[in-house]
Symmetry: C2
Subunit: 121 residues, 2 copies
Amino acid sequence: MSSSAVILFAHGAREPEWAQPFESIRDRLRAVAMPIELAFLEFMPPSLDEAAARLAGKGIETVVIVPLFLAQGAHLKRELPAMVEKIRKRHAKTEFRVTPALGESPEIVAAITEWVLRAAR
Amino acid sequence: MSSSAVILFAHGAREPEWAQPFESIRDRLRAVAMPIELAFLEFMPPSLDEAAARLAGKGIETVVIVPLFLAQGAHLKRELPAMVEKIRKRHAKTEFRVTPALGESPEIVAAITEWVLRAAR
């Protein structure tokens, strides 16, 4: 039994293939042997609630929720904190932590800048 | 007068600060001396139409549209191609090219994986 895990939290879309990059990130991280779940805001299962319940049910002590969103809009500023508050009340023995959006990371901004430079050639 | 330029095409949101990571990417690329515009699907100006018209009006020969979306949903699969088709008809002297979504790039997937690993520590 592991004491920490990650939930990758993505937007979701109607097209199943939309999830592919996120599944690819999850699979890479799973290969590093970290308990990891992918969860979606809408359109696709599982929900953040379901993923949190699954990990809390396994007795995980700390769950880090990593929003796979480029920037912080209403989804991350209002909806996610409200969802996490309810999850914390429901699973009081598990600590839930939320990281910033991808675009807050200088490394991600640098990687995207490089990608644009290559793509624009 | 330059013969090629880039439009960074992002989703947009109601919160002005949402645009910050995208403005940061645009500013870094501007520093590399490439004519570059940021355009949004909704909520924020300018639209893709407006950005395309501005660059075509300057006599730019090739415009590369880089969607700053993590994955390909309806926005990139249906809405963007329809918008680009109209833009091509309106500005026949300029070539418009569209790159894949960020999540199609192995380097971006790797950078996000690294970010999750650091964030989850």
